[in-house]
Amino acid sequence: MGETLLLLKHRDVPGIRHYDVYKEHNGYEAAEKALNMSPEQILEEVKTSGLRGRGGAGFPTGLKWSFLAKPEGVPRHLVVNADESEPGTFKDRYLMEFIPHRLIEGIIISSYCLGSNVSYIYIRGEYGWIIDILEEAINEAKTNGWLGKDIKGSGFDLEIYVHPGAGAYICGEETALLESIEGKRGNPRIKPPFPAVKGLWQRPTVVNNVESIAAVGPIITIGGEAYAKIGVGRSTGTKLISACGNINKPGVYEIDMTQTVEEFIYSDEFCGGIANGKRLKACIPGGSSVPMLPANLLLKTAKGEPRYMNYESLAEGGFETGSMMGSGGFIVLDEDQDIVYHTYTISRFYRHESCGQCSPCREGTHWLEKILKRMSEGHGKMSDIDLLWRVQGNIEGNTICPLGDAAAWPVASVIRHFRDEFEWRVLNGEDALNKKFGLAHYADPIEANKEAE
Protein backbone atom coordinates (compact mmCIF):
# COMPACT_ATOMS: atom_id res chain seq x y z
CA MET A 1 0.00 0.00 0.00
CA GLY A 2 1.41 3.34 -1.02
CA GLU A 3 1.02 6.88 0.15
CA THR A 4 -2.19 8.48 1.42
CA LEU A 5 -2.28 12.02 0.13
CA LEU A 6 -4.06 14.64 2.18
CA LEU A 7 -1.44 17.32 2.69
CA LEU A 8 0.54 16.55 -0.43
CA LYS A 9 -2.52 16.03 -2.61
CA HIS A 10 -2.00 17.50 -6.09
CA ARG A 11 1.71 17.89 -5.44
CA ASP A 12 2.41 16.73 -8.99
CA VAL A 13 0.09 19.25 -10.63
CA PRO A 14 2.24 21.81 -12.46
CA GLY A 15 1.88 25.26 -10.94
CA ILE A 16 0.16 24.04 -7.73
CA ARG A 17 2.44 26.47 -5.91
CA HIS A 18 0.30 29.30 -7.24
CA TYR A 19 -3.09 30.47 -6.12
CA ASP A 20 -5.01 29.95 -9.36
CA VAL A 21 -3.96 26.35 -9.82
CA TYR A 22 -4.37 25.57 -6.12
CA LYS A 23 -7.86 27.11 -6.22
CA GLU A 24 -8.82 25.02 -9.24
CA HIS A 25 -7.94 21.92 -7.25
CA ASN A 26 -10.37 22.55 -4.39
CA GLY A 27 -8.06 25.07 -2.80
CA TYR A 28 -9.61 27.40 -0.20
CA GLU A 29 -12.80 25.34 -0.05
CA ALA A 30 -11.87 24.37 3.49
CA ALA A 31 -11.32 28.01 4.43
CA GLU A 32 -14.67 28.94 2.92
CA LYS A 33 -16.41 26.19 4.86
CA ALA A 34 -14.59 27.15 8.06
CA LEU A 35 -15.55 30.83 7.86
CA ASN A 36 -19.17 29.69 7.86
CA MET A 37 -18.63 27.67 11.01
CA SER A 38 -18.14 29.04 14.51
CA PRO A 39 -14.68 28.95 16.10
CA GLU A 40 -16.06 26.47 18.65
CA GLN A 41 -17.22 24.14 15.89
CA ILE A 42 -13.78 24.21 14.31
CA LEU A 43 -12.16 23.44 17.64
CA GLU A 44 -14.48 20.46 18.04
CA GLU A 45 -13.52 19.11 14.60
CA VAL A 46 -9.82 19.43 15.41
CA LYS A 47 -10.31 17.69 18.75
CA THR A 48 -12.33 14.91 17.13
CA SER A 49 -9.68 14.43 14.47
CA GLY A 50 -7.17 13.32 17.09
CA LEU A 51 -4.48 15.37 15.33
CA ARG A 52 -1.26 15.29 17.31
CA GLY A 53 1.43 17.93 17.00
CA ARG A 54 3.80 17.11 14.16
CA GLY A 55 6.75 19.08 15.51
CA GLY A 56 8.10 16.28 17.63
CA ALA A 57 6.26 15.95 20.92
CA GLY A 58 2.96 14.67 19.52
CA PHE A 59 0.76 16.72 21.86
CA PRO A 60 -2.93 16.74 20.83
CA THR A 61 -3.52 19.94 18.86
CA GLY A 62 -7.18 20.42 19.81
CA LEU A 63 -6.32 20.14 23.50
CA LYS A 64 -3.52 22.68 23.14
CA TRP A 65 -5.91 25.09 21.43
CA SER A 66 -8.44 24.69 24.22
CA PHE A 67 -5.82 25.92 26.74
CA LEU A 68 -5.47 29.28 25.01
CA ALA A 69 -6.29 32.03 27.49
CA LYS A 70 -8.78 34.63 26.27
CA PRO A 71 -8.57 37.67 28.52
CA GLU A 72 -10.69 40.64 27.41
CA GLY A 73 -8.93 43.18 25.24
CA VAL A 74 -5.62 41.31 24.91
CA PRO A 75 -4.68 40.24 21.36
CA ARG A 76 -3.82 36.59 20.79
CA HIS A 77 -1.41 35.12 18.26
CA LEU A 78 -0.85 31.98 16.26
CA VAL A 79 2.80 31.34 15.50
CA VAL A 80 3.70 28.65 13.00
CA ASN A 81 6.94 26.86 13.75
CA ALA A 82 8.87 26.48 10.50
CA ASP A 83 12.27 26.45 12.15
CA GLU A 84 12.82 22.84 11.03
CA SER A 85 16.39 22.20 12.12
CA GLU A 86 16.31 18.73 13.62
CA PRO A 87 18.81 16.61 11.67
CA GLY A 88 16.92 14.24 9.39
CA THR A 89 13.88 16.50 9.11
CA PHE A 90 13.00 18.29 5.88
CA LYS A 91 9.28 17.72 5.51
CA ASP A 92 8.02 21.22 6.37
CA ARG A 93 10.31 22.66 3.77
CA TYR A 94 8.87 20.29 1.16
CA LEU A 95 5.32 21.28 1.98
CA MET A 96 6.06 25.01 1.97
CA GLU A 97 8.13 24.82 -1.18
CA PHE A 98 5.65 22.90 -3.28
CA ILE A 99 2.20 23.60 -1.79
CA PRO A 100 2.56 26.83 0.19
CA HIS A 101 -1.15 27.59 -0.01
CA ARG A 102 -1.91 24.44 2.00
CA LEU A 103 -0.15 26.14 4.89
CA ILE A 104 -1.66 29.57 4.26
CA GLU A 105 -5.13 28.07 4.16
CA GLY A 106 -4.46 26.16 7.37
CA ILE A 107 -3.28 29.36 9.05
CA ILE A 108 -6.44 31.21 8.01
CA ILE A 109 -8.70 28.53 9.49
CA SER A 110 -6.62 28.10 12.64
CA SER A 111 -6.29 31.85 13.23
CA TYR A 112 -10.04 32.25 12.86
CA CYS A 113 -10.61 29.45 15.36
CA LEU A 114 -8.11 30.89 17.86
CA GLY A 115 -9.02 34.54 17.34
CA SER A 116 -5.59 35.59 16.10
CA ASN A 117 -5.68 38.65 13.85
CA VAL A 118 -1.94 38.70 13.26
CA SER A 119 -0.22 35.35 12.78
CA TYR A 120 3.46 34.73 12.14
CA ILE A 121 5.42 32.04 10.35
CA TYR A 122 8.80 31.74 12.04
CA ILE A 123 11.05 30.13 9.43
CA ARG A 124 14.70 29.22 9.67
CA GLY A 125 16.75 31.90 7.94
CA GLU A 126 18.58 29.43 5.73
CA TYR A 127 15.37 28.64 3.84
CA GLY A 128 15.86 31.90 1.92
CA TRP A 129 14.11 30.90 -1.28
CA ILE A 130 11.17 29.44 0.62
CA ILE A 131 10.69 32.77 2.38
CA ASP A 132 10.19 34.26 -1.10
CA ILE A 133 7.73 31.50 -2.04
CA LEU A 134 5.71 32.10 1.14
CA GLU A 135 5.70 35.87 0.69
CA GLU A 136 4.41 35.38 -2.82
CA ALA A 137 1.70 32.98 -1.69
CA ILE A 138 0.64 35.41 1.03
CA ASN A 139 0.39 38.19 -1.54
CA GLU A 140 -1.69 36.00 -3.82
CA ALA A 141 -4.01 35.10 -0.96
CA LYS A 142 -4.33 38.75 -0.07
CA THR A 143 -5.05 39.82 -3.64
CA ASN A 144 -7.82 37.23 -3.72
CA GLY A 145 -9.45 38.45 -0.56
CA TRP A 146 -8.30 35.70 1.83
CA LEU A 147 -6.30 38.07 4.01
CA GLY A 148 -6.83 41.59 5.24
CA LYS A 149 -9.96 43.13 6.72
CA ASP A 150 -13.32 41.39 6.88
CA ILE A 151 -12.24 38.29 4.94
CA LYS A 152 -14.98 37.25 2.51
CA GLY A 153 -17.55 39.17 4.52
CA SER A 154 -16.98 37.09 7.65
CA GLY A 155 -16.03 40.04 9.82
CA PHE A 156 -12.72 38.32 10.55
CA ASP A 157 -9.45 40.25 9.98
CA LEU A 158 -6.12 38.55 9.48
CA GLU A 159 -2.57 39.38 8.43
CA ILE A 160 0.13 36.72 8.07
CA TYR A 161 3.78 37.68 8.25
CA VAL A 162 6.91 35.63 7.63
CA HIS A 163 9.61 36.14 10.23
CA PRO A 164 13.06 34.68 9.49
CA GLY A 165 15.43 33.23 12.07
CA ALA A 166 19.16 33.31 11.53
CA GLY A 167 20.59 29.89 12.20
CA ALA A 168 19.84 28.46 15.63
CA TYR A 169 18.26 25.04 16.16
CA ILE A 170 17.21 26.06 19.66
CA CYS A 171 14.78 28.58 18.18
CA GLY A 172 12.62 25.60 17.21
CA GLU A 173 11.86 25.23 20.92
CA GLU A 174 8.66 27.20 21.25
CA THR A 175 9.67 29.68 23.96
CA ALA A 176 13.11 30.32 22.39
CA LEU A 177 11.23 30.93 19.16
CA LEU A 178 9.08 33.57 20.84
CA GLU A 179 12.17 35.26 22.29
CA SER A 180 13.66 35.26 18.81
CA ILE A 181 10.61 36.95 17.27
CA GLU A 182 10.88 39.54 20.01
CA GLY A 183 14.33 40.37 18.68
CA LYS A 184 16.37 38.63 21.34
CA ARG A 185 18.76 35.71 21.74
CA GLY A 186 17.02 32.36 21.50
CA ASN A 187 17.13 31.44 25.18
CA PRO A 188 14.23 29.17 26.18
CA ARG A 189 11.99 30.54 28.89
CA ILE A 190 11.23 28.75 32.12
CA LYS A 191 7.70 27.29 32.03
CA PRO A 192 5.18 28.04 33.44
CA PRO A 193 3.84 30.42 32.33
CA PHE A 194 3.09 28.53 29.15
CA PRO A 195 2.74 30.34 25.82
CA ALA A 196 -1.00 29.69 25.89
CA VAL A 197 -1.16 32.16 28.78
CA LYS A 198 1.87 34.38 28.26
CA GLY A 199 3.53 33.92 24.90
CA LEU A 200 4.60 36.35 22.22
CA TRP A 201 4.92 39.81 23.85
CA GLN A 202 3.31 38.24 26.94
CA ARG A 203 0.10 37.68 24.99
CA PRO A 204 -1.70 34.32 24.78
CA THR A 205 -0.07 32.39 21.95
CA VAL A 206 -0.38 29.05 20.21
CA VAL A 207 2.76 27.65 18.61
CA ASN A 208 2.23 24.81 16.14
CA ASN A 209 4.35 23.02 13.61
CA VAL A 210 3.85 23.68 9.87
CA GLU A 211 2.53 20.18 9.25
CA SER A 212 0.04 20.38 12.14
CA ILE A 213 -1.43 23.61 10.79
CA ALA A 214 -1.43 22.37 7.20
CA ALA A 215 -3.50 19.38 8.35
CA VAL A 216 -6.31 21.63 9.61
CA GLY A 217 -7.58 22.32 6.06
CA PRO A 218 -8.07 18.65 5.16
CA ILE A 219 -9.61 18.03 8.61
CA ILE A 220 -12.25 20.68 7.94
CA THR A 221 -12.82 19.36 4.42
CA ILE A 222 -13.39 15.72 5.31
CA GLY A 223 -14.47 16.29 8.93
CA GLY A 224 -12.69 15.34 12.14
CA GLU A 225 -14.35 11.96 12.33
CA ALA A 226 -13.28 10.90 8.86
CA TYR A 227 -9.75 12.13 9.57
CA ALA A 228 -9.61 10.09 12.77
CA LYS A 229 -10.53 6.97 10.79
CA ILE A 230 -7.31 7.24 8.82
CA GLY A 231 -4.37 5.70 10.62
CA VAL A 232 -4.42 3.43 13.66
CA GLY A 233 -5.35 3.96 17.29
CA ARG A 234 -4.12 7.28 18.61
CA SER A 235 -1.99 7.76 15.49
CA THR A 236 -4.71 9.38 13.44
CA GLY A 237 -4.53 10.97 10.03
CA THR A 238 -1.45 11.09 7.85
CA LYS A 239 2.15 11.85 8.75
CA LEU A 240 4.91 13.25 6.59
CA ILE A 241 8.11 11.27 6.86
CA SER A 242 11.34 12.68 5.51
CA ALA A 243 13.58 9.74 4.73
CA CYS A 244 17.31 10.09 4.25
CA GLY A 245 20.65 8.38 4.65
CA ASN A 246 21.71 5.24 2.81
CA ILE A 247 18.48 4.45 0.97
CA ASN A 248 17.64 4.30 -2.70
CA LYS A 249 14.83 6.83 -2.64
CA PRO A 250 15.34 9.59 -0.11
CA GLY A 251 12.49 12.07 0.03
CA VAL A 252 9.26 13.08 1.72
CA TYR A 253 6.43 10.55 1.99
CA GLU A 254 2.93 10.94 3.33
CA ILE A 255 1.83 7.79 5.12
CA ASP A 256 -1.29 6.71 6.97
CA MET A 257 0.88 5.08 9.65
CA THR A 258 -0.32 1.54 8.93
CA GLN A 259 2.90 0.49 7.17
CA THR A 260 5.47 -1.71 8.84
CA VAL A 261 8.96 -0.24 9.14
CA GLU A 262 10.19 -3.05 6.92
CA GLU A 263 7.72 -2.15 4.19
CA PHE A 264 8.65 1.51 4.51
CA ILE A 265 12.35 0.83 4.07
CA TYR A 266 12.26 -1.88 1.44
CA SER A 267 9.22 -1.30 -0.75
CA ASP A 268 9.57 0.63 -3.98
CA GLU A 269 6.72 2.91 -3.01
CA PHE A 270 8.84 4.31 -0.22
CA CYS A 271 12.59 4.17 0.46
CA GLY A 272 13.23 1.47 -2.15
CA GLY A 273 15.71 -0.46 -0.01
CA ILE A 274 19.25 0.17 1.12
CA ALA A 275 21.48 1.92 -1.44
CA ASN A 276 24.30 0.16 -3.27
CA GLY A 277 23.07 -3.30 -2.36
CA LYS A 278 24.24 -2.89 1.22
CA ARG A 279 22.49 -4.17 4.30
CA LEU A 280 20.67 -2.20 6.96
CA LYS A 281 22.65 -1.57 10.14
CA ALA A 282 20.74 1.02 12.13
CA CYS A 283 18.14 3.74 11.94
CA ILE A 284 17.05 6.84 13.79
CA PRO A 285 13.34 6.85 13.01
CA GLY A 286 12.25 10.29 14.25
CA GLY A 287 14.98 12.90 13.89
CA SER A 288 18.41 12.93 15.51
CA SER A 289 17.07 13.48 19.05
CA VAL A 290 15.37 10.12 19.35
CA PRO A 291 17.09 6.83 20.19
CA MET A 292 18.89 4.99 17.41
CA LEU A 293 17.87 1.37 16.92
CA PRO A 294 19.86 -1.50 15.44
CA ALA A 295 18.24 -3.25 12.48
CA ASN A 296 16.85 -6.14 14.50
CA LEU A 297 15.02 -3.93 17.02
CA LEU A 298 13.93 -1.54 14.32
CA LEU A 299 12.11 -4.09 12.21
CA LYS A 300 10.72 -6.09 15.10
CA THR A 301 9.90 -5.15 18.66
CA ALA A 302 11.59 -6.99 21.53
CA LYS A 303 8.50 -9.21 21.63
CA GLY A 304 9.25 -10.26 18.06
CA GLU A 305 6.25 -8.47 16.59
CA PRO A 306 6.58 -6.36 13.45
CA ARG A 307 7.18 -2.68 14.16
CA TYR A 308 4.91 -0.15 12.47
CA MET A 309 5.44 3.43 11.36
CA ASN A 310 3.26 5.06 14.02
CA TYR A 311 3.64 6.82 17.37
CA GLU A 312 2.82 3.82 19.55
CA SER A 313 4.66 1.11 17.68
CA LEU A 314 7.88 3.08 17.24
CA ALA A 315 7.85 3.76 20.98
CA GLU A 316 7.08 0.13 21.91
CA GLY A 317 9.60 -1.09 24.46
CA GLY A 318 10.41 2.39 25.78
CA PHE A 319 13.97 3.59 25.47
CA GLU A 320 15.31 0.14 26.34
CA THR A 321 14.31 -1.41 23.06
CA GLY A 322 12.19 1.21 21.28
CA SER A 323 12.43 4.74 19.94
CA MET A 324 10.03 7.53 18.93
CA MET A 325 8.14 8.97 15.99
CA GLY A 326 9.52 12.43 16.86
CA SER A 327 9.49 14.81 13.92
CA GLY A 328 9.40 12.04 11.32
CA GLY A 329 13.03 12.46 10.27
CA PHE A 330 13.91 8.91 9.25
CA ILE A 331 17.69 8.40 9.03
CA VAL A 332 18.95 5.08 7.70
CA LEU A 333 22.51 3.81 8.14
CA ASP A 334 23.98 0.97 6.09
CA GLU A 335 26.43 -1.71 7.23
CA ASP A 336 29.48 0.43 6.44
CA GLN A 337 28.53 3.27 8.73
CA ASP A 338 30.55 4.04 11.79
CA ILE A 339 28.25 4.44 14.77
CA VAL A 340 30.88 6.18 16.89
CA TYR A 341 31.73 8.78 14.29
CA HIS A 342 28.09 9.29 13.43
CA THR A 343 27.27 9.90 17.07
CA TYR A 344 30.16 12.33 17.24
CA THR A 345 28.63 14.44 14.44
CA ILE A 346 25.30 14.41 16.24
CA SER A 347 26.89 15.43 19.55
CA ARG A 348 28.82 18.18 17.82
CA PHE A 349 25.51 19.42 16.50
CA TYR A 350 23.97 19.64 19.98
CA ARG A 351 27.05 21.28 21.47
CA HIS A 352 26.92 23.86 18.69
CA GLU A 353 23.22 24.45 19.23
CA SER A 354 23.09 24.57 23.04
CA CYS A 355 22.05 28.07 24.09
CA GLY A 356 24.36 27.84 27.09
CA GLN A 357 21.84 28.85 29.74
CA CYS A 358 22.07 25.75 31.92
CA SER A 359 25.35 24.17 32.90
CA PRO A 360 24.41 20.47 32.50
CA CYS A 361 23.60 21.13 28.84
CA ARG A 362 26.36 23.65 28.12
CA GLU A 363 29.13 21.61 29.78
CA GLY A 364 27.65 18.19 29.11
CA THR A 365 27.27 18.58 25.36
CA HIS A 366 30.84 19.84 25.25
CA TRP A 367 32.05 16.72 27.04
CA LEU A 368 30.02 14.35 24.88
CA GLU A 369 31.51 15.89 21.76
CA LYS A 370 35.04 15.82 23.10
CA ILE A 371 34.94 12.19 24.24
CA LEU A 372 33.25 10.99 21.04
CA LYS A 373 35.77 12.89 18.95
CA ARG A 374 38.73 11.21 20.59
CA MET A 375 37.04 7.83 20.40
CA SER A 376 36.27 8.23 16.71
CA GLU A 377 39.87 9.28 16.08
CA GLY A 378 41.11 6.06 17.65
CA HIS A 379 42.30 7.52 20.95
CA GLY A 380 39.49 6.27 23.14
CA LYS A 381 39.84 4.36 26.39
CA MET A 382 37.53 1.66 27.71
CA SER A 383 36.60 3.94 30.60
CA ASP A 384 35.34 6.53 28.09
CA ILE A 385 32.31 4.38 27.41
CA ASP A 386 31.15 4.56 31.01
CA LEU A 387 32.11 8.22 31.12
CA LEU A 388 29.83 8.92 28.16
CA TRP A 389 27.06 7.05 29.92
CA ARG A 390 27.51 9.13 33.07
CA VAL A 391 27.71 12.45 31.24
CA GLN A 392 24.55 11.83 29.27
CA GLY A 393 22.81 10.69 32.45
CA ASN A 394 23.77 13.93 34.18
CA ILE A 395 22.26 16.02 31.41
CA GLU A 396 18.98 14.18 31.06
CA GLY A 397 16.17 15.73 33.02
CA ASN A 398 18.35 18.45 34.57
CA THR A 399 17.83 21.28 32.10
CA ILE A 400 15.45 24.14 31.36
CA CYS A 401 14.41 22.90 27.95
CA PRO A 402 14.37 19.50 26.25
CA LEU A 403 17.49 20.17 24.15
CA GLY A 404 19.50 18.63 26.96
CA ASP A 405 17.51 15.39 26.70
CA ALA A 406 17.75 15.54 22.94
CA ALA A 407 21.53 15.57 23.24
CA ALA A 408 21.59 12.80 25.83
CA TRP A 409 19.19 10.26 24.32
CA PRO A 410 21.08 9.47 21.12
CA VAL A 411 24.27 8.84 23.10
CA ALA A 412 22.47 6.64 25.60
CA SER A 413 20.89 4.61 22.80
CA VAL A 414 24.13 3.88 20.97
CA ILE A 415 25.87 2.76 24.14
CA ARG A 416 22.90 0.57 24.93
CA HIS A 417 22.77 -1.07 21.52
CA PHE A 418 26.25 -0.71 20.07
CA ARG A 419 28.49 -1.03 23.09
CA ASP A 420 30.52 -3.76 21.39
CA GLU A 421 31.29 -1.41 18.52
CA PHE A 422 32.57 1.19 20.98
CA GLU A 423 34.71 -1.47 22.63
CA TRP A 424 35.96 -2.68 19.27
CA ARG A 425 37.00 0.83 18.43
CA VAL A 426 38.98 1.22 21.60
CA LEU A 427 40.77 -2.11 20.99
CA ASN A 428 41.35 -1.53 17.28
CA GLY A 429 42.36 2.11 17.09
CA GLU A 430 44.28 1.66 13.85
CA ASP A 431 41.58 -0.24 12.00
CA ALA A 432 39.05 2.22 13.24
CA LEU A 433 40.94 5.03 11.57
CA ASN A 434 41.12 3.10 8.32
CA LYS A 435 37.39 2.68 8.49
CA LYS A 436 37.34 -1.08 8.69
CA PHE A 437 34.41 -1.29 11.01
CA GLY A 438 33.51 -4.93 10.93
CA LEU A 439 30.56 -5.77 13.14
CA ALA A 440 28.22 -5.92 10.22
CA HIS A 441 26.18 -8.52 12.07
CA TYR A 442 23.89 -5.67 13.09
CA ALA A 443 23.05 -5.45 9.45
CA ASP A 444 21.41 -8.79 9.23
CA PRO A 445 18.15 -8.74 11.12
CA ILE A 446 17.68 -12.47 10.79
CA GLU A 447 21.06 -13.33 12.25
CA ALA A 448 20.72 -10.66 14.87
CA ASN A 449 17.31 -11.94 15.86
CA LYS A 450 18.73 -15.40 16.28
CA GLU A 451 21.38 -13.98 18.51
CA ALA A 452 18.81 -12.22 20.60
CA GLU A 453 16.91 -15.45 21.21
Binding site: P75, E84, S85, E86, P87, G88, T89, F90, R93, V118, R124, G125, E126, Y127, G128, W129, D132, E159, Y161, H163, P164, G165, A166, G167, A168, Y169, S180, I181, E182, G183, K184, R185, G186, W201, S242, A243, C244, G245, N246, P250, G251, V252, I284, S288, G329, I331, L333, D334, Q337, Y341, H342, T345, I346, R348, F349, H352, E353, C355
Partner: protein
Protein backbone atom coordinates in the same frame (compact mmCIF):
# COMPACT_ATOMS: atom_id res chain seq x y z
CA UNK B 1 36.53 55.09 9.08
CA UNK B 2 33.85 56.27 6.73
CA UNK B 3 30.39 56.64 8.16
CA UNK B 4 28.22 53.56 7.62
CA UNK B 5 25.27 54.04 5.31
CA UNK B 6 22.88 51.53 3.80
CA UNK B 7 21.14 51.90 0.47
CA UNK B 8 17.82 53.76 0.27
CA UNK B 9 16.00 50.48 -0.44
CA UNK B 10 17.47 48.96 2.69
CA UNK B 11 16.07 51.68 4.94
CA UNK B 12 12.76 51.47 3.12
CA UNK B 13 12.61 47.71 3.52
CA UNK B 14 13.36 48.01 7.24
CA UNK B 15 10.64 50.67 7.60
CA UNK B 16 8.18 48.38 5.87
CA UNK B 17 9.14 45.39 8.02
CA UNK B 18 8.63 47.38 11.23
CA UNK B 19 4.94 47.72 10.40
CA UNK B 20 4.58 43.94 10.78
CA UNK B 21 4.88 44.22 14.55
CA UNK B 22 2.59 45.94 17.04
CA UNK B 23 3.18 49.43 18.33
CA UNK B 24 5.98 49.42 20.88
CA UNK B 25 7.29 45.99 19.80
CA UNK B 26 9.48 47.24 16.98
CA UNK B 27 12.53 45.52 18.41
CA UNK B 28 11.12 42.42 16.72
CA UNK B 29 12.47 43.69 13.43
CA UNK B 30 16.03 43.19 14.66
CA UNK B 31 16.82 39.81 13.09
CA UNK B 32 15.26 40.62 9.70
CA UNK B 33 17.09 43.96 9.81
CA UNK B 34 20.40 42.28 10.65
CA UNK B 35 19.99 40.12 7.54
CA UNK B 36 19.54 43.29 5.50
CA UNK B 37 22.49 45.02 7.16
CA UNK B 38 24.74 42.04 6.50
CA UNK B 39 23.72 41.89 2.85
CA UNK B 40 24.54 45.60 2.56
CA UNK B 41 27.97 45.14 4.14
CA UNK B 42 29.87 42.56 2.11
CA UNK B 43 28.29 39.68 3.96
CA UNK B 44 29.49 40.43 7.47
CA UNK B 45 28.70 42.61 10.42
CA UNK B 46 31.47 44.91 11.54
CA UNK B 47 30.95 46.80 14.82
CA UNK B 48 30.27 50.16 13.10
CA UNK B 49 27.60 48.42 10.99
CA UNK B 50 25.90 47.08 14.10
CA UNK B 51 26.17 50.48 15.77
CA UNK B 52 24.56 52.10 12.79
CA UNK B 53 21.75 49.58 12.84
CA UNK B 54 21.25 50.17 16.56
CA UNK B 55 20.91 53.87 15.88
CA UNK B 56 18.51 53.27 12.99
CA UNK B 57 16.29 51.05 15.16
CA UNK B 58 16.59 53.13 18.31
CA UNK B 59 18.21 50.29 20.24
CA UNK B 60 21.25 50.12 22.48
CA UNK B 61 24.28 48.78 20.61
CA UNK B 62 24.56 45.89 23.05
CA UNK B 63 21.05 44.73 22.13
CA UNK B 64 22.29 44.34 18.59
CA UNK B 65 25.60 42.70 19.51
CA UNK B 66 24.05 40.11 21.76
CA UNK B 67 21.70 39.00 19.03
CA UNK B 68 24.27 39.09 16.22
CA UNK B 69 26.64 36.89 18.25
CA UNK B 70 23.94 34.30 18.99
CA UNK B 71 22.91 33.33 15.47
CA UNK B 72 25.21 31.40 13.13
CA UNK B 73 24.05 33.12 9.96
CA UNK B 74 25.58 36.39 11.10
CA UNK B 75 29.26 36.64 10.23
CA UNK B 76 31.30 38.70 12.64
CA UNK B 77 34.45 38.45 10.56
CA UNK B 78 35.01 39.26 6.89
CA UNK B 79 33.99 36.50 4.48
CA UNK B 80 34.65 35.82 0.83
CA UNK B 81 32.29 36.85 -1.91
CA UNK B 82 30.90 33.32 -2.06
CA UNK B 83 30.46 31.46 1.19
CA UNK B 84 30.35 27.71 0.63
CA UNK B 85 28.45 26.35 3.62
CA UNK B 86 28.73 22.60 3.48
CA UNK B 87 26.58 20.59 5.86
CA UNK B 88 28.53 18.07 7.92
CA UNK B 89 25.91 16.63 10.30
CA UNK B 90 25.12 12.88 10.54
CA UNK B 91 22.70 12.39 7.64
CA UNK B 92 24.95 14.33 5.26
CA UNK B 93 28.03 12.61 6.68
CA UNK B 94 26.70 9.13 5.93
CA UNK B 95 26.17 10.31 2.35
CA UNK B 96 29.75 11.51 1.96
CA UNK B 97 29.91 15.16 3.05
CA UNK B 98 33.42 14.68 4.48
CA UNK B 99 34.74 13.96 0.99
CA UNK B 100 33.14 17.12 -0.34
CA UNK B 101 34.67 19.23 2.42
CA UNK B 102 38.11 17.64 1.95
CA UNK B 103 37.90 18.24 -1.77
CA UNK B 104 37.05 21.91 -1.38
CA UNK B 105 39.86 22.38 1.13
CA UNK B 106 42.33 20.89 -1.28
CA UNK B 107 41.01 22.59 -4.37
CA UNK B 108 40.89 26.05 -2.83
CA UNK B 109 43.89 25.47 -0.59
CA UNK B 110 42.11 26.70 2.52
CA UNK B 111 41.08 25.16 5.80
CA UNK B 112 37.54 25.22 7.11
CA UNK B 113 36.57 28.70 8.22
CA UNK B 114 39.14 30.31 5.93
CA UNK B 115 38.87 32.54 2.88
CA UNK B 116 40.89 32.27 -0.33
CA UNK B 117 43.54 34.95 -0.88
CA UNK B 118 41.61 36.44 -3.80
CA UNK B 119 38.69 36.97 -1.43
CA UNK B 120 36.36 34.89 -3.58
CA UNK B 121 35.56 31.87 -1.45
CA UNK B 122 35.03 31.06 2.21
CA UNK B 123 34.51 27.47 3.34
CA UNK B 124 32.11 27.44 6.29
CA UNK B 125 31.20 24.00 7.58
CA UNK B 126 27.66 24.01 8.78
CA UNK B 127 25.22 21.91 10.78
CA UNK B 128 22.02 20.37 9.37
CA UNK B 129 20.35 22.68 6.87
CA UNK B 130 17.15 20.71 6.36
CA UNK B 131 18.22 19.07 3.13
CA UNK B 132 19.25 15.70 4.54
CA UNK B 133 17.43 13.76 1.80
CA UNK B 134 19.35 15.58 -0.88
CA UNK B 135 22.78 15.03 0.64
CA UNK B 136 25.57 15.92 0.38
CA UNK B 137 24.68 19.57 0.04
CA UNK B 138 25.78 23.13 0.60
CA UNK B 139 24.11 26.47 1.03
CA UNK B 140 25.28 29.18 -1.37
CA UNK B 141 23.68 32.53 -0.69
CA UNK B 142 19.92 32.16 -0.82
CA UNK B 143 20.03 28.76 -2.49
CA UNK B 144 20.94 25.17 -1.81
CA UNK B 145 23.16 23.06 -4.05
CA UNK B 146 22.15 19.46 -3.50
CA UNK B 147 23.25 15.91 -4.38
CA UNK B 148 26.82 17.22 -4.60
CA UNK B 149 29.59 15.24 -6.25
CA UNK B 150 33.25 16.16 -6.67
CA UNK B 151 32.50 17.00 -10.33
CA UNK B 152 29.56 19.20 -9.43
CA UNK B 153 31.65 21.08 -6.90
CA UNK B 154 34.38 21.64 -9.50
CA UNK B 155 31.87 22.95 -12.02
CA UNK B 156 30.29 25.22 -9.46
CA UNK B 157 33.59 26.75 -8.43
CA UNK B 158 34.58 27.32 -12.06
CA UNK B 159 31.25 28.93 -12.77
CA UNK B 160 31.57 31.28 -9.81
CA UNK B 161 35.10 32.20 -10.85
CA UNK B 162 33.92 32.99 -14.37
CA UNK B 163 31.08 35.15 -13.09
CA UNK B 164 33.65 37.23 -11.37
CA UNK B 165 35.94 37.93 -14.31
Amino acid sequence: MAEVKFSEEAYKKIEELITRYPEGKQKSVLIPALHIAQAESNGWLDVPVMDHLAETLNLEPVEVYEVATFYTMFNLKPVGKHVLEVCQTGPCMVCGSDKIIDHIKEKLNIDVGETTKDGLFTLKPSECLGACGYAPMMMLGKNYKEFLTIEKVDELIEELRKQDQ
